[in-house]
Subunit: 188 residues, 2 copies
Amino acid sequence: MGRWPTGSRERLQQAALALFVEKGFDQTSVSDIASRAGVTERTFYRQFGEKREVLFDGGESLQLAITEHLSTSPPDERPLEAAERALMHAATEFFSDRLPFARKRQSVIDANPELQERELLKMASLVDAIRDSLASRDVPETASRLAAEMGVAAFKVAFGRWIDPANGRSLADLIRDCLDEMRDVAAR
Amino acid sequence: MGRWPTGSRERLQQAALALFVEKGFDQTSVSDIASRAGVTERTFYRQFGEKREVLFDGGESLQLAITEHLSTSPPDERPLEAAERALMHAATEFFSDRLPFARKRQSVIDANPELQERELLKMASLVDAIRDSLASRDVPETASRLAAEMGVAAFKVAFGRWIDPANGRSLADLIRDCLDEMRDVAAR
């Protein structure tokens, strides 16, 4: 679950992603990946429990970074602002140097309905984690849930903009912009 | 895809849901369902393409009712208000007399991760449909997407409250309340 994959782990991830893009996710075997990375299949399975984990293993660390940041936010901060700051923090922490990876990863996911379902499940789990983290700070339950839903929706939209080839801005800036637009949309 | 299943279709749906609750979704076969409903398996497959469709066949009609309502909304209506009215309309149209069904259905889905993924996919598809419908009315793309995300998030939270045994209010009222709470959460 390390943030900075090194050595065989990094090679495996790069090899896997290149193959997923070239051949498609379902058509790529663990044997293909290990062979391209110049390691054994056993090394693959030591690093990743299964093929899908190459794409999803960062999700838990991301979630943890967000909820840890939330747990240190000022107790009187409003829930959406707390969620916003935590998401921007995690964006800077996790994604600053991951744009090429994120673009390739997204193209693989877009081509595969099962991977899309898995990604949706990951996002739903992030909503639950943010909601629980806010609720533990005495934010009422519905407000916690709604702020979590709004924060994650903004994150998703910002992420889509971030990986757009025409974009040159940081993910954190785009998250802030999306939440500001959401505030405009919500204003009567 | 009829809203008011009658005859064998209705019997099949009730039999299936009762069996899913009793035995679990995976442990229930189409043969069990047909036998409980007093029809042949062939009749089941004529009504539902597969077992999962018993739970998800209303999704397309719901989506269509929402987007059709959106297409008739006043052109100067703000996107979140348009989404809100369409969701409230569909809630009244589709769910007024479906509370016992909705409760059982949710308990089946909550017990099965694959069904949860399917439900998430259905909700993501609803977000896309609302976004497209708003964007076709010249709402800017990001505002369309954000209003769609917020509307569906409110729908989900309202739905959870609606099926709560302690609730006595209508789904439409709960959607309106959730969107008002969302506006409060969004206000700085």
